[in-house]
Structures are given as C-alpha cells and as structure tokens.
C-alpha cells in the first residue's frame, strides 16, 4: 500500500524545496492532449497479508505435479533441488543486484558466473561457455544464427541449417522466429523408423552452415550414431547438439565426439520447472565460435594491484556496444537461475552427477521393462537406449488415454499428436530421479486396464 512509500506525507516539503507547489508541476511537461486524467481503473491496494491470502486462494486451484503421480516430461522433468540452493539464492546481495557493470563491487556474482562457465564447459566438453541465455529453445536458435555467422562465407549451401525432424513444433517455432530475419533457411534431417538419425539424410547437410540435433532426442533416445556426425558433415559445418545436462554423468560429452556448439535446457540442474519459466539455456562452444557467441561472458583479470579479479569481457559483441551489429539482442538473461545451477553442480560433484544420472536412467529402464510386459501396448523404439522418456504406442488415442489416467489421479504423459500430427496413438511418458517404483507399477496397471478395454471395445 502507498503508506509503504518512504516519502508519503513529505511531498509538499520536497516539492517546496524545489520551488514547486504540487505533484502536477512535475508532470507539467506532459502535453494536455496526451495526459491520463483521474484514477487508474484498477482495484484498490492490498496489505501484504491480504495479498498472501488471495495468492493462496487463487493458486489453490492449481494441481501441482507433486499432488499427483506424474509422467509428464517432454523435455522438462521432475527433479529435486537441494535445500541449501533455495536458502542461498534468497541472499539479497545476489537476488537484488543487476548486471555487474561495476566489477569492483560485483566480484561475488562475477566469480560465481565464471565458475558456472567452467562447470558447464567441463560438463559438455567444450572450451567456452557463456553465463546463460533464456532457455533451451532460444539457446538452440542462437546457436543456429551463430553457426551461420561463422560458416556462411565458405558454405556451399549458404544461409542454410538442418535440424532434426523430431524437434517439437514450439522449439522449431522459436528457431524460425530467431532465424527468419537473417534469411536463414531451415531444412530437416530425417530419422529412421527406430527413431535414430538417418545418417544418409545427414550427408545432404554437407556444405551447409550447421546441423542441430538433440541427445537424447525428443523421443528420449540416446543415439550412438551421433558420434559419426562430425566426420560426415565436415569441418565447415557446425555440429550443434542439444543436451539433457544431467544425462552427461553417464553419456559422453558431445564436445568429445565432435560437437562445435552444445546447447540445452539447464532446468534439471538447479531449477524447478516453474510452469516453464524462468529456466536457463546452456550455451557452450569451441574457441572458433567465441567472437560470434551471444550473451554475456565473464573473464578473469587483475586489478591495479595485480590481484585476481573478474569482469565481463568481449562486450564488443553485445547490443549495448555494437547496437544493430550485435551478435544477439539479449541483455537481461537468467543469471540467478544459472547461479542455482552452479550451486546444484557444486553440491553434486562428479560422482554425485553420475549417481543422479544413473537414478534417471534406472527409472526409465524399470518403466521400460514393466510396460513392455503389457501385451496390449507396444514400445516402438524399445531396441534403443532411453534417457528420461520413451514412446508408448497405444491401441487407441493418446488423448483418450490421458483423460482416463487423469480420472485415476495420474498425469499420464504427453500426447505426441501435438508434435507429430499423424501419431495420435503415441504417448510420451517421462521418468526421472523422482519417479518411484510404486508409481511405475500404478501406471502399468492402469495402462493394462485401459488398453485391454480399448481392444475389447474395438473387437466387440
């Protein structure tokens, strides 16, 4: 409420000091024709306790994932964030600071972000990482424009980038919005019927500026074929890989099989899903791409006494210096969420990461084993290794199945016809370190009942 304004009641005194008599004097420079008169047509102010009471009431209508047994993932999977991360992130010195334009009083966040860059760089096996972009979709989009800036001069397929045909439409839409202005053509790479990348299709991408694929791919498949990509597309085409960062505790770092740029949704490390935002996008690359990277980068330096100090560096790529020739328009990014990521990584350590990765894989494998025992459904990509999610092919529509599971108190997964029109019977189910064996049993039992009823209904 306005009584929280520190100068309420002292307006006249302050105005008088300036030789003014009313608040209107301070707005006299706004021409009459463009003034808004009277009160704003909005509700009245509330006290803190009233706001909390309303928030509780309104948000009580939400069903949290934790209130149900949930198998909904599609790239954002349930995770656990250690308590100390939440406690430390509320420290006001972090929470209420901004972009460290004055490094002498911002060493804390600068060092934390330099450490974040190191943690990510080590995780993905590439030399350079920035201190975050908005999310996994914009990091993919920024990687594509970055690849074009680096490779277009020598490319034989100018202004062209290939992306996997499996990339979900919302992510493709972000990519299209970010790339259309630069006249970039997005072509697609085909996949085999088992869900792996078609390496013959890949040869068509040779001579283009880059290719973008994901590991695991959107169907949850860990594709061994990706280790052969770089030799097929060659040095002049950027190999961009989108990763699930926790998987890299078990799965090879893409930098070690030829990736030039690694991007991804950072959420699993440090951030709750929070209805899809704020999250943070990972962006890492080899040195060849450094000067065309988007976003802020912290470098180590020295102060006038020769003491180690940190500051933002390579700013001449950025909008506040380079304006319309900047590598990206990004200014405000996701620093605080990246800091949560750094804290989570610091707590995990290398062995903790490997264990977290194993827990995710174990849940997925147990689910695969249990669900493959149901004879009335099938797992079309069962021969592959999966991380976090896989597809179930149902004897009826996935939308109906999700409806049914909802009535049984389960958030059943994701209807893949939203991504791939013709796949009305494909259900994408997600399992993470938070999945319990009993939950998998429950899903198995309900799916067996539903699918059996479907088949009997159809046959009847």
């Amino acid at each position: 409420m306005v009584d929280q304004l520190p100068n309420l009641g002292r307006e006249s005194e302050m105005l008088a000091a300036m030789g003014f008599s009313s608040m209107d004097d301070l707005f006299a420079d706004i021409p009459e024709a463009v003034r808004m008169n009277g009160e704003l047509p909005l509700r009245g102010p509330q006290s803190e306790e009233e706001i909390i009471a309303d928030a509780r009431h309104i948000l009580g209508a939400n069903v949290a994932l934790g209130d149900r047994v949930s198998f909904l993932g599609a790239g954002l999977n349930r995770n656990y964030i250690p308590a100390s991360v939440f406690q430390l992130i509320t420290r006001g010195e972090f929470l209420t600071s901004y972009t460290p334009y004055q490094p002498e009083v911002s060493q804390g966040m600068l060092q934390a972000m330099w450490e974040f860059q190191t943690l990510i760089s080590e995780l993905v096996g590439l030399e350079v990482a920035n201190l975050s972009v908005y999310d996994g979709s914009t990091s993919a989009a920024e990687a594509i424009t970055c690849a074009v800036r680096v490779h277009n001069r020598k490319a034989t397929q100018k202004d062209t980038v290939y992306i996997s045909e499996l990339i979900p439409p919302a992510r493709v839409s972000v990519i299209q919005n970010y790339t259309q202005g630069g006249g970039i053509t997005i072509k697609t790479l085909r996949h085999n019927s088992d869900g792996t990348l078609n390496l013959e299709s890949l040869s068509e991408a040779s001579g283009s500026c880059g290719i973008y694929v994901e590991q695991p791919n959107p169907l949850g498949i860990l594709d061994g074929g990706l280790t052969r990509v770089k030799e097929i597309i060659g040095e002049q085409t950027a190999f961009i890989v989108g990763v699930a960062p926790v998987s890299l505790g078990l799965v090879e770092a893409p930098g070690n099989y030829g990736a030039d740029i690694v991007v991804g949704e950072g959420q699993a490390l440090g951030s709750p899903i929070t209805y899809g935002g704020p999250l943070y996008g990972i962006f890492a690359c080899t040195k060849a791409y450094l000067r065309q990277m988007p976003g802020r980068i912290v470098g180590r330096s020295i102060d006038v006494d020769g003491k180690e100090a940190f500051c933002l560096t390579l700013s001449t790529r950025e909008q506040h210096i380079r304006r319309h020739r900047a590598t990206s328009n990004i200014c405000t990014n996701e620093t605080l969420i990246a800091l949560m990521g750094a804290m989570h990584m610091a707590l995990l350590g290398p062995e903790g990461l490997a264990k977290l990765s194993r827990r995710n894989m174990a849940a997925c494998q147990l689910a695969k084993q249990k669900l493959s025992e149901i004879t009335t459904i099938s797992l079309p990509h069962a021969m592959n290794c999966h991380y976090n999610e896989f597809v179930i092919e149902l004897p009826g529509s996935a939308a109906d199945c999700i409806e049914y599971l909802d009535t049984q108190g389960l958030i059943g997964g994701y209807d893949l016809s939203n991504w791939y029109n013709q796949r009305t019977n494909w259900l994408l189910v997600s399992f993470s370190d938070q999945t319990q064996a009993a939950e998998i049993e429950l899903l198995t039992a309900h799916l067996a009942v539903w699918s059996t009823n479907m088949i009997q209904g159809v046959n009847a």
């Binding site: 349930r78 080590e122 605080l336």
Partner: protein, 502 residues
C-alpha cells in the same frame, strides 16, 4: 581468494541421494556414448558449499546492500512477500503442458496481469510470453513484420531509432531483418521531428522510442511523431524501460503507440538477480492482436461440466491461439515465476500505481535539485552540466561530467569509482551515448528523502576530491579498479586447471 575448484575433499558429498530404483549394472548405453571421464567438478561438503556462496554474496552489491541509482534499470526494492508467494505450492511444481483444468490458478493470475498491463499502457491485448525486455522488443517487431506481410507491404524494411535509444532497440529490429535508420537528437537531447520527417517514407516499418527518453525527459512532441510515422504507414513502438515514470499520468496508447513492452523486473519489482531473470510482456493495439505469440489467456463464465478445482471459481480460464500468431519466442509460456511476483507487486499498489510513479518522479527531481544546489554551495557546479536543460525530469536524469574531464582530467568513470568508495552503486555511466561523460541517475520511489540528501552530499564530496584520489578509486572495495583490457587480451574464461597443477 577462494576458488570453487580448489575444493576436492575425498568425502565431499554435498548431499546424499537415494539409490537408483533399479539395478544399473546393465544400462545398455551405446558403447560409443559411454562417458569415461567425469567432468572436473569440485567436491564440496554442504558447509563448504554454503560458505563459498555466502562468501561470494558478501562480495556483491545489491539493492539490499545500499542505494543503487543505476539509470534506466529501475532498481527498486524487491518486496519479500513476492518471494514468499513464488514459493507457494502450485507455482514451482507446475508443468507448462498440464491441461487447463489443473492450472486454473495460474491462468487466473496471468489473466489479471494481462488486463492490468493493458489498462496501464492503453493497449488492447497483452502476451506474457517474452522473457526479457529485449525479447519483448523483438516480439513486437515480428508482429509488425507479419502485419505488413499480410497486407502485402513488404517494402517496409526500415526501422527508425533515435540516437539516444537503448542498444537493444536496434539489435532487436536488426535480428528481425530490418535495416536501422538512426536519427540524431536535437542539441537539447529531444526528438528532432525534422530529422524524423526526412527519413520516413513508404519503406518505414516502425519507429522505436522510449518516452520519457533515456535522458529522463518527456518528449513533448511525441503525438506529432506518432502522426508522422502513421501518416507514412509505419507503426510506433514504445520501449517500456522507462514506464515507471508515467503510470496513471499518461500511457503509450494515448501517445499514439501501437505496441509496447513492459519490463516486469523494472516497473513491477521482479528481482534483477544479478542480470536476470526478467520478464518482458508486450501489449498491442487491436490491429496487431492476432499476430501475438500464443497462446493468450482468455476467460468465460463457468459452464456445467467444467472441472473446477476451487470452490469459489467465477470464471473458466483457457488458452487461445491468436489466429495469425507469429508463433513462439520462448518454448513455453514465458517467465511465469516473474509474472507471479509482479502480480504480488501490482496487488500492493492497485490503482495507486499512479502514486508510485509520482513518487519515483518526485525522488528523481528532488535528487537532481539537491545535487545542483549542493554543488553550487560548494562551488563545484562548473564541473558538470545537465544532460538535458529542462525544468522537470521524469524518473531519471543525466549529468555530463565533460567539464570536469576537460578541466581536471577526471572522467565520469573516475567519479563512478569514487562513489563506490562512498558505499554506493554507481549510476549508469557513458549512456546515453549522446551525452559526453554521462552519468544517468535513477533513484526510484524506494528511497527516502534522507538517502537522497545524503547521496547529494556525497556526490558533491566526490567532485571535490583530488584528481589523483579519483584516478586511484576505488580503494575500499574487495578488489580495486579492474583491468578490462587485460581480461579481453588474456582470455581466461574458465578455471585454468593446468595452470593450477603447474
């Protein structure tokens, strides 16, 4: 100096995890994909980790630490009730693909925010999807672009920005594929209508401008500017970075703008978090609504059969995809965590958001007055001049330290570092680019008269310092002046493990 990567204790488990729920001796990972070498991450116990980050936080300056007059960034207090609300169940643990009947609470808050933002800016429709101001700019420019394409006006390839604009404006328009025409400001920093008239034409797509300008000055001829651009068939874009100055006093809609972005992390107190997250919703006039990124929250009266989870629910909230939507700019529904915090801030003021803006403007004018008066009394007013010679400013003001640079060889950066020694965050320096040796000061409604008085006194004391003292400043901070050139010439962008071993 403590480094995270120097922690490598043998038993350094930060937290213990349950065991996998299934044996993992045969995970069937393709042999080519098995990771042999784990990342060189540190090994810390929980207390070591807590101390490391507490130590780092002690080496960081936030609004909680002290006065943070960073111009154009609106560094206002972040009420902690917002943080409490953001931690309620049903916020953090929500998935963006959950069905509508499970997220009625979030949709209700989104809807209330869409409505409120529309009213404050005089816009007809709002999307909450863009996650930062720059992304909001980009989104609106994309809407303009598709609007013109649908009308066959593909000739409109140019976006006009004044030379005082934020760097994100030209960067965002350029990313969307537009050519940038920068127009010079008048001597007094104001928009030059003749310069505008000289560049508009049938190739004009839009003009991007913030009002009050980055000089903190209200552009009195803004309606005329809008008329000129509209007459040429272009669209008007309002950069909402300076929105905190005008709520309830005027609006972009009244001024003639077609689209606007809001910085929820500025005007509506989403914490800046050391650089983010932000939130940059946009509002548009009706003719652009069908191009917005979707989906947008709409509501209708409850019908029988609606699956209500709350007893007193009056409306059914649902998603709607705008007909000719440009698609997505972020994969999900934007930074909903920031929207919820900003909702709590909105509820704190309601219609008194107008009073909030008045106090932001009162504080800026008062501080400007106090600095000028104090400088005069102490005989140092010859060392600087107003960035814009006006009677009143809005939420911020600029000072040019060019006279000081010329007379004493002391730069705006030297003065900024001197202010750090006084315990303040420095104002924005060297922006806008059109004011030489610029300092841009924005106190916001957060600060009391006492804080402003004290800052004025300290600011003038810094001006009175010996040149050598200011060249050497800061001396009281964790590190002294950092060599940014050294950082760029000797790139060390991650912890040098090899150096450490040698």
């Amino acid at each position: 100096m403590s480094h995270l990567f120097e922690h490598n204790g043998a038993n350094g488990k930060g937290y213990s995890q349950p065991d996998p729920i299934f044996p993992t001796d045969n995970l069937q990972i393709p042999s080519t994909l098995v990771r042999d070498e784990l990342p060189k991450w540190p090994r810390l116990s929980e207390p070591e980790m807590v101390r490391h980050y507490t130590w780092l936080s002690n080496r960081n300056f936030g609004i909680d630490t002290g006065f943070y007059p960073l111009g154009s960034c609106t560094m206002k207090h972040n009420p902690r009730v917002n943080e409490v609300i953001a931690q309620l169940p049903g916020i953090a643990d929500l998935h963006p693909l959950q069905p509508e009947h499970q997220i009625q609470g979030t949709l209700a808050i989104f809807h209330e925010m869409q409505e409120m933002l529309g009213i404050c800016a005089g816009m007809d429709d709002v999307t909450l999807q863009p996650v930062a101001g720059a992304q909001g700019e980009f989104t609106a420019i994309r809407c303009f672009q598709e609007y013109f394409r649908s009308r066959g006006e593909t000739n409109r390839t140019k976006v006009i920005v004044p030379d005082s604009a934020h760097g994100t404006n030209p960067a965002s328009a350029s990313m969307a594929g537009f050519e940038i025409i920068e127009i010079p400001s008048q001597e007094n920093g104001r928009l030059d209508l003749d310069a505008l008239r000289a560049v508009v034409g049938d190739d004009t797509a839009a003009m991007m401008i913030t009002n009050p300008s980055t000089l903190g000055v209200f552009e009195p001829e803004i309606a005329e500017a809008a008329e000129i651009v509209h007459a040429a068939g272009g669209q008007m874009y309002y950069d909402g970075a300076n929105f905190n100055a005008i709520l309830g006093r005027t609006s972009p809609g009244i001024m003639g703008f077609d689209a606007v972005h809001y910085n929820l992390h500025k005007t509506f107190s989403q914490p800046h978090g050391g650089g983010g997250p932000g939130s940059g919703p946009i509002g548009v006039k009706a003719h652009l609504a069908e191009y917005l990124p979707g989906p947008i929250v709409k509501r209708r009266p409850i019908l029988s059969g609606d699956r209500l989870t709350s007893v007193n629910q009056e409306w059914w909230y649902h998603w709607q995809e705008p007909e000719k939507s440009i698609g997505k700019v972020q994969q999900w529904h934007g930074n909903s965590g920031a929207v919820i915090r900003s909702w709590a801030f909105y509820r704190r003021y309601g219609k008194d958001l107008k009073t909030m803006s008045e106090h932001a403007v009162l504080n800026a004018n008062y501080l400007r007055h106090r600095i000028l008066k104090e400088a005069e009394e102490k005989g140092v007013s010859h060392l600087f001049c107003d960035g814009a010679p006006v009677d009143v400013v809005k939420h911020e003001f600029t000072l040019s330290l060019a006279p000081m640079k010329e007379q004493l060889g002391v730069s705006a950066m030297d003065v900024a570092k001197g202010l750090l020694d006084k315990g303040y965050m420095s104002p924005t320096v060297y922006f806008p680019l059109i004011v030489p040796e610029c300092m841009m000061v924005e106190p916001t409604e957060t600060e009391s008269k006492e804080v402003l008085d004290e800052f004025a006194t300290n600011f003038v004391e810094v001006l009175q310092e010996d040149a050598e003292v200011l060249h050497a400043a800061p001396i009281t901070t964790d590190v002294r002046r950092v060599d940014e050139v050294y950082a760029a010439r000797n790139l060390v962008l991650s912890y040098p493990f090899d150096e450490d071993n040698s």
